[in-house]
């Protein structure tokens, strides 16, 4: 689909300023399950879609915010390229705008580049109804403040992403996934880090239920030589798409609340009762269990990390780890610098933002 809705979206924002109407930015709705709904009326970017520039030798793709991740991946596949962040398509629902705004990455991101690592530029519709361009389509660009990266993971509180330029990478010639039994997370991470220190082209590491999954991406010769050397069983590469799209059985159990913890990779197992799935070589851990939010957050904070509560229908628990008290003012000031009338996505991240 190729459609430029910029003028219409801009008019909606200008009208909202006049009517003092709050706006809740919506894409394909693929992440509604995990986030609070913003206040106000919906402002959909889903129709504002289409790849506007893609030159494979530049390894850069520019697309409107409503373009689906599925469409982008299929266009990249034709040129043997891919998104390094392995962001999930959630069927054909996830949009580029929503993916960038929520910084939603998959297992490869820890090795090949997360969304904030690969965003090169963007067009933003700010809270004054202005269409602004920051960054560009080149890999290096230090003119002005790096607003493009600030918008990654900003959950729409600073404005409406209209267009994003991202760095893409060549698809590896060969990939293999190994399943290796490990008694503990510690043993699994010791194993993976040994491989990383030997500069093996590891591209994903996950551990749960006593089984570690490890993906190696490289040329045919490297990949074929490894199973014998490393041990374990060769399993389907499809595992990583299931993990990225949260389709593994671990995610299906909806009886207990789900949390996503981001921690320094070497953090020991946290003393929380329940079940765990560890991704990103230890840096991202999914937790399901009976423990209360305060305990989860305080342990996480003590370990130098943060915990995101994945909403289960109730809005009683805050989605995000509270801000450090001395960062609150900077957040409030930044919000007002971009969205002086407080139109966008109120309360999605924090109250008063």
């Amino acid at each position: 689909m190729d459609r430029d809705d910029t003028a219409a979206l801009q008019q909606r924002v200008v009208a909202a300023i006049a009517a003092q109407q709050k706006l809740s930015i919506a894409g394909g709705g693929s992440k509604q399950f995990m986030l609070k709904a913003g206040e106000g009326v919906a402002l959909s970017i889903a129709e504002h879609s289409g790849i506007t520039a893609y030159n494979p030798t530049e390894m850069v793709l520019t697309a409107r915010a409503g373009t689906t991740i599925a469409e982008i991946e299929s266009v990249l596949l034709e040129q043997s390229q891919m998104l390094p962040s392995e962001s999930p398509g959630f069927g054909a629902k996830a949009t580029l705008g929503g993916t960038v705004a929520s910084s939603f990455c998959g297992p490869r991101a820890a090795f090949a580049g997360s969304l904030r690592d690969i965003v090169l530029g963007c067009k933003l519709l700010n809270g004054k109804g202005e269409v602004l361009s920051f960054g560009g389509q080149v890999l290096k660009n230090v003119a002005g403040y790096d607003i493009s990266r600030l918008l990654v993971g900003s959950y729409g509180i600073l404005g409406v992403l209209l267009e994003v330029s991202i760095k893409v990478v060549p698809r590896p010639a060969a990939e293999i996934t190994l399943a290796v039994e490990k008694a503990s997370l510690q043993q699994a991470l010791a194993f993976s880090n040994k491989l990383i220190c030997a500069a093996l082209p590891v591209s994903a590491v996950c551990f749960y239920d006593g089984l570690m999954r490890l993906r190696i991406s490289g040329n045919e010769a490297t990949v074929q030589s490894l199973p014998a050397a490393l041990g374990g069983e060769v399993v389907s590469n499809h595992f990583w798409a299931q993990l990225s799209n949260l389709e593994l059985p671990f995610f299906a159990d909806s009886a207990r609340p789900l949390w996503r913890l981001n921690l320094p990779a070497t953090t020991p197992v946290l003393a929380l009762e329940g079940s765990w799935l560890t991704d990103c070589n230890g840096a991202q851990r999914w937790y399901r269990g009976p423990e209360c939010a305060e305990k989860i957050r305080s342990l996480c904070h003590a370990a130098g990390g943060q915990a995101m509560y994945i909403k289960d229908g109730s809005d009683k628990i805050a989605t995000f780890q509270p801000l450090e008290s001395n960062l609150v003012r900077w957040h409030q000031q930044l919000k007002l610098a971009f969205d002086p009338h407080r139109l966008f996505n109120s309360d999605v991240m924090y109250p008063d933002l």
């Binding site: 030159n55 494979p56 030798t57 530049e58 580049g113 904030r116 690592d117 700010n126 269409v131 602004l132 361009s133 920051f134 560009g136 389509q137 080149v138 890999l139 290096k140 660009n141 230090v142 003119a143 002005g144 403040y145 790096d146 607003i147 990266r149 600030l150 990654v152 993971g153 900003s154 990478v169 698809r171 010639a173 220190c197 030997a198 500069a199 093996l200 082209p201 490289g218 040329n219 010769a221 490297t222 981001n262 320094p264 070497t266 130098g304 943060q306 995000f320 780890q321 509270p322 801000l323 450090e324 001395n326 900077w330 957040h331 000031q333 930044l334 007002l336 610098a337 971009f338 924090y350």
Partner: protein, 490 residues
Amino acid sequence: MKQAHDPLLDTALADVDAGQLTAALQATMPSASVLCSREAMKPFECDGLVSYRNMPLAVVLPETVEQVQGVLKICSKLGVPIVARGAGTGLSGGALPCSNGVLLVLSRLNQILEIDAEQRCARVQPGVSNLAVSVAAELHGLYYAPDPSSQIACSIGGNVAENAGGVHCLKYGLTVHNIISLKLFTAAGELLEIGGANAGLDILALVIGSEGMLGVVVEITLKLLVKPPSVSTLLAAFDDVEVAGQVVADIIAAGVVPAGLEMMDKLALTAAEDFAHAGYPRDAAAILLVELDGYASEVDADVEVVQKVLAAGGATQVRRAENEAQRALFWKGRKCAFPAVGRLSPDYYCMDGTIPRHTIGEVLNYINTLSAAYQLPVANVFHAGDGNLHPLILFNANNPGEFARVEEMGGKILEKCIAVGGAITGEHGVGREKINQMAVQFSDAEIAQFQALKDALDPAGILNPGKNIPTLKRCQEYRAISQCASVELA
């Protein structure tokens, strides 16, 4: 030499009682750490962009983080501008002092506080030199990836301020990709920790490359990488610059991401060869240096692919470094290229635009046209893999009016970069130098958004004023002036 204070660029100078300021500073730190005399301050009047000079009211060299905080609190209370400076190797006048302000030199905060081999990270103070981190990490088989050519001297704090790059960015990223967290003081002297696993907006990414306009960084946690077990470097010669430019795009199109992909034209490679005796072919019109690193079987396969692309693309000669000594020599020529070119002429002016790779040939031709029109020789040595040009314009500052011509020509090169879809600076920063071209790259609304952001985090505007973001008035003036070009192109 450039005017220090420009009423169009800068807000009116605040009234500062110099006596009161120095007395307060001297009460905060040993008096030997506060310089006020012209003689003592002279070495600090410029950074690596020596054609821009200015004397501050005082230069302070704190030895502790607490002293830094003390300076900020004094300046914030008195409304005195503060310019932070690391090693002073910057090339855009980002650390040019403010005439009614304090120059805050962070070079004495030079401790590597911790190297954590298990987590592969290092905690350092801002005055530590870039290279010192890799030297200290080598013991653990680790290194810090960003490697600007000035890495022997440049400081990590300065690298953060400019989002410094280097020759290995294509594969390993810029400073912003290699920093885990920062401790910084706000303009008012409040300590913030940003990055790491902190929740909220990605303020870390915003601060990196902000040219000391949003805060003063006092501690940095860096990512360290495992030293690649296998490294291979190819040197390819071409008899045409444009052909070499096309091969750069071809290598990427073949699905290879080299660790480094550098290009030098005839003037640059001859100067480098004379200086470093790196074994560069003097008869070539251009050379490419292609470095591949990683796991041995991956590197071997990539080398094979690149060799085929180079041959098919018209390389007249391809050499693979036979050993570590020869590899180091290939790079020595490249890393010495700036000083080597410096020997050809009394002065040179280094540009830093970035362009999409497929326009390299077009832009190099345009630079040649400008060079002929302005009668100023240009040597090109640059990071071809990421489209980051470094044209070096040769001139003699003692010839009246010559520097003005150089700046005008440099401005045109940057504007060409914008026209082909690139940017005015890839890694040196806007600083004071490229502030005019900001008006070409950005609209008034975009400049106003930058200013709103700056006002939000430094409401009194005391951190590095007059740099990076021009006033709207200045933008309008520059756009009007640049309508009428003074040198006609053939």
